[in-house]
Point group: C2
Chain length 292, copies 2
Amino acid sequence: MLKELWKERQQLVEEQLVRELEQEPPLDARLAESMRYSLMAGGKRLRPILLMAAADAVGAKGTDYLTAACALEMIHTYSLIHDDLPAMDNDDYRRGKLTNHKVYGDGMAVLAGDALLTLAFKVIARQKHTDPATLLRVVQEISTAAGMNGMVGGQAIDLESEGHRIPMQELQKMHMGKTGALFRAALRSGAILAGATEGQLAALTSYAEGFGLAFQITDDILDVTGDEKLIGKPVGSDIRNEKSTYVTLTSLDEAERLAEETVDKAVKALAVFGPEADFLRQLVRYMLERKN
Amino acid sequence: MLKELWKERQQLVEEQLVRELEQEPPLDARLAESMRYSLMAGGKRLRPILLMAAADAVGAKGTDYLTAACALEMIHTYSLIHDDLPAMDNDDYRRGKLTNHKVYGDGMAVLAGDALLTLAFKVIARQKHTDPATLLRVVQEISTAAGMNGMVGGQAIDLESEGHRIPMQELQKMHMGKTGALFRAALRSGAILAGATEGQLAALTSYAEGFGLAFQITDDILDVTGDEKLIGKPVGSDIRNEKSTYVTLTSLDEAERLAEETVDKAVKALAVFGPEADFLRQLVRYMLERKN
């Protein structure tokens, strides 16, 4: 069930992303092309999938919230474009394709990211099947998660920690911002849109924290044990670049143990839900066997 | 009246901007510092002033909408930070101070801009004295104006036209995006927040278009006739950089004539309003005598 439903919804997300981009004839064709280039460069579409799965878990129809789900993918994509810039990670390739700035130039890549972030909020405000007060709460949730005390804050810590090891506590703060905050916002937004009770929202928040941590630890493990072709970057690059990771700060064994423990906790957090949350249960378990 | 009220409200905007930045202890202190550096670097605070003045014109209390007004200044500031980057205009100074990336580095400047744009939407969602449906309309208005078919779109045209002259029509498209769209969103948002009728909204939209154009033409005139110390950049730099402007594409006389004509039209658009719109009338007339 996991792979089928995932694939099906990935498809829905990709179709909706194109629709959102093509709402109006673009003021500048090259800017629109560069936004589309990165938005359509593949990817797991994990954040929109999580938003819809959280709505499912609460008993709503996840696909009703496809519009808001796409906003998260726009934010994720903009963050990758800016992260790849020479001023940041200076990466030439992502998922086997040239990065945005290598194709469109640094200036246009800055603008494509800016435009995607802005479009995300426009798209949220267009979400149907919900009332304005709930949508505003989602705007708050996502702007908080993506901003200075969430994703961008985590990237700032990352930028400043370049070239020197950082202690475990700082590493966790960085990841909670850089990747955890948006996962959390995805799950919480899905729950809020679907009218979750406070108890359900708390359960999904707790799951989100486990999911984010499990994602990060397995990312660090894949850097050591992964297949270069599948992870899309050279194996062992974190070690060579002296990056602080769960593996370099502890050991491969310890990281694997921690990942399993974290996944178990995340599954337990879903105990308040019935089979409607099975997809979320499978999704976090999949973190332990993922290859990319 | 103009200068006094302007100064008074500038003060209110600056105090509120600091309050918004300091809502929570920052995840990364240097990121917060770099956001604050550019946000507090002075400036006319024209966009928040316009939002509040539009609300006044409709008969509401403009300062009730200080929070949403500040969101516009955050968006304006982020656009300046990104615009100054080496990948864009590569400017070392703005308003006589080092640009953000010269102080904090290119990577941090990208992130400071990203965080300010994100914070803007968080701040709008926090605006009091209004209902959620109206606020969502403001989110739509501002995200449309700031995005790919507004401000960022205009910047993309600017980026692509670098080093070669562009025809008048393309110049207008660029400015309508780059500066006009946000002025328009400021005035329309103020009107919407204050519960304007359709007729009032149309009048303020028409004023906004005149205001934006007058601002741009007088900006181009100042590049030729201005005082270096007051405009904060070398006089004649547009001509030396072969930039297309209203002056270089026509003549100084013709640009001055067009500016006056535009200001008259903008004032006429306000005919439906009483003395509550006097500040807006003075504001657009001021464009003709401004020194910076």
